[in-house]
């Protein structure tokens, strides 16, 4: 594995009086797919939002590419190479597919848009077919592809995916995970938050299990898949 690119140490996040994230620490190295699994409400999405600057941690440290990003504004982090595909995709519904992708490259010089589009369309041929279409009219799976493609337009060093399988039919989930694997093979480092533990761990280099705001287990994808507690709690036996 390559250099460590993300280092999170003892972060604590509060929503008012609710203590949502408790002393969470983990790290991601270049070239990995790291899965963050856990039940609904375990704090996975909150963790991602804290990393991308939408929420603040009260304590601890977050380092990205060797630099502290604890207090960075979200819009600055994109330029540093951190891309976040939020839960529920959040594509710009009234803009076309291509306009959404252009927004993904907002921090990049204009000359990178055309090659970026080509790269994204190679991964998602479906988006190319629909590029003039208003993205609110896309299906859920296509919107997920668009959200991922949009994040790739910023040429990220770390791609954070929040529940890419949410609300999708099994066949589409397979497709999305194939693409995640493909992106990983093409050299993208990925932090994957998923409730679908089976799928996530089967493609992950390493994984962390979150429960009620804490990291309770960690290991390689295979170790976690074979762990009895994980099997009982998340894999149905």
């Amino acid at each position: 594995m390559g250099d460590r690119i993300l280092h999170v140490e003892d972060i604590n996040v509060y929503y008012g009086a609710i203590h949502a994230i408790k002393d969470v620490s983990f790290e991601v190295s270049e070239g990995e797919i790291v899965a963050l699994i856990g039940a609904n409400g375990a704090g996975k999405s909150t963790t991602l939002k804290t990393l991308s600057g939408l929420l603040r941690s009260a304590t601890g440290a977050i380092e990205f590419m060797g630099e502290s990003i604890m207090h960075a504004q979200p819009d600055r982090l994109v330029a540093k190479g951190l891309a976040h595909v939020p839960e529920g995709r959040r594509v710009f519904q009234q803009m076309t597919v291509e306009e959404n992708l252009e927004m993904g490259a907002y921090t990049r010089p204009g000359s990178e848009i055309a090659p970026g589009l080509e790269r994204v369309y190679a991964h998602f041929p479906r988006l190319k077919e629909r590029r003039r279409q208003v993205s609110g009219t896309l299906s859920g799976g296509e919107q997920q592809m668009l959200a991922m493609g949009r994040a790739l337009m910023s040429s990220p060093k770390l791609l954070m995916l929040d529940e890419p399988s949410m609300g999708l039919a099994p066949i589409l989930i397979e497709q999305i995970f194939d693409i995640v694997r493909e992106l990983h093979e093409a050299g993208t480092t990925i932090l994957l938050v998923e409730q679908n533990a089976q799928m996530a761990l089967s493609i992950a280099t390493r994984g962390y299990v979150m429960e009620t705001g804490r990291v309770t287990l960690s290991g390689t994808g295979r170790e976690l898949l074979e762990n009895d507690d994980v099997r009982k709690a998340y894999l149905g036996g």
């Binding site: 991308s52 600057g53 939408l54 504004q73 979200p74 819009d75 600055r76 982090l77 994109v78 330029a79 891309a83 976040h84 939020p86 529920g88 959040r90 594509v91 710009f92 519904q93 009234q94 803009m95 306009e99 252009e102 927004m103 993904g104 907002y106 921090t107 204009g110 609110g136 859920g140 919107q143 949009r150 994040a151 910023s154």
Partner: protein, 293 residues
């Protein structure tokens, strides 16, 4: 027939002024999702600036327009930064009340600076209009206003549709958090929107007072409210909607004054608005986009 056309020309010209104001309202509402009720008063400030530059400094009209645009742009950015930005997380009512406060602040500040006595604004445009046009009440101001309005609308459509900054504004208007995740600086984008809206207000102010030369601290209120009505009429947030809404409102007003009653004209205008909203709640060009979850 001639009389009807004359009224139509009056309506078109006044409607173009409303449209320019409404475009400012709709830009700010469309992107920042707030009703800037102080917009009408920025118009009045723009007119005063233009008045001062021509009457006190004796500079040419075009310089006064540039000065008005510059001052109002800066004023728009300042208002947004001081009054609205701290309320970004607050409810819409807090912002609305603040906007009303800013409106009164600007009116009183103008009264303090320029006094309550109305100034006599000299039209900034004067060139000879051919006789056959003049027969229909077409004046230099009305020609300039209609052209300015068309150019501004086309410019805004091009800006929001084709430029990077314009597209970023649309992204912010849909989803601020997602826009931030694209690397868009939401605060800067919103202040840019205010800058554009206020620049339009300055132009509208100068044209408005070129029509009706009485300039006083409350000059912007009524046209501001009517233009807001026009923006809602056309579908607030929609650029072509603001344009069509403004023009229609101007024509309805002129026709009501001509054929029904001068004193009832305003009531008629607002009655039409109510009917339109009953039939089409989102306005003529507004759309409710169903949200996909």
């Amino acid at each position: 027939m001639t009389v009807f056309l004359q009224y139509l020309v009056n309506g078109l010209s006044m409607g173009s002024v409303y449209a320019i104001i409404a475009l400012g309202y709709t830009m700010v509402y469309g992107i920042a999702k707030m009703l800037n009720f102080a917009h009408g008063d920025v118009i009045m400030i723009g007119a005063y600036i233009s008045f001062c530059v021509t009457s006190y400094l004796g500079l040419p009209a075009i310089v006064s327009v540039v000065a008005a645009v510059a001052v109002c742009t800066a004023l728009g950015i300042l208002i947004e930064g001081f009054a609205y930005k701290p309320l970004r997380q607050a409810g819409p009512l807090a912002v609305l009340i603040t906007a009303i406060g800013v409106s009164y602040f600007l009116q009183n500040a103008a009264q303090l600076i320029w006094g309550a006595t109305p100034k006599n604004f000299t039209s900034i445009v004067s060139f000879p209009v051919p006789d056959f046009l003049r027969a229909y009440n077409v004046s230099a101001v009305s020609l300039v206003t209609v052209v300015a309005c068309l150019v501004i609308m086309a410019g805004l459509m091009w800006f929001t549709g084709k430029t990077k900054m314009g597209k970023a504004m649309r992204a912010v208007s849909e989803d601020k958090a997602a826009a931030q995740l694209m690397g868009i600086n939401v605060n800067r984008t919103i202040s840019m929107t205010f800058a554009i809206g206020s620049a339009l207000a300055a132009i509208a102010g100068v044209l408005l007072c070129s029509y009706s030369p009485v300039l006083q601290p409350t000059t912007g209120s009524m046209p501001g409210i009517k233009a807001f009505t026009a923006a809602v009429f056309g579908g607030i947030g929609s650029i072509p909607g603001a344009f069509v809404g403004g023009i229609l409102l101007g024509i309805i007003e002129a026709m009501a004054q001509a054929y029904i009653s001068t004193s009832l004209a305003n009531s008629i205008v607002f009655a039409v608005l109510i009917v339109v909203l009953l039939v089409k709640p989102a306005g003529l060009f507004g759309r409710y986009v169903p949200e996909k979850v």
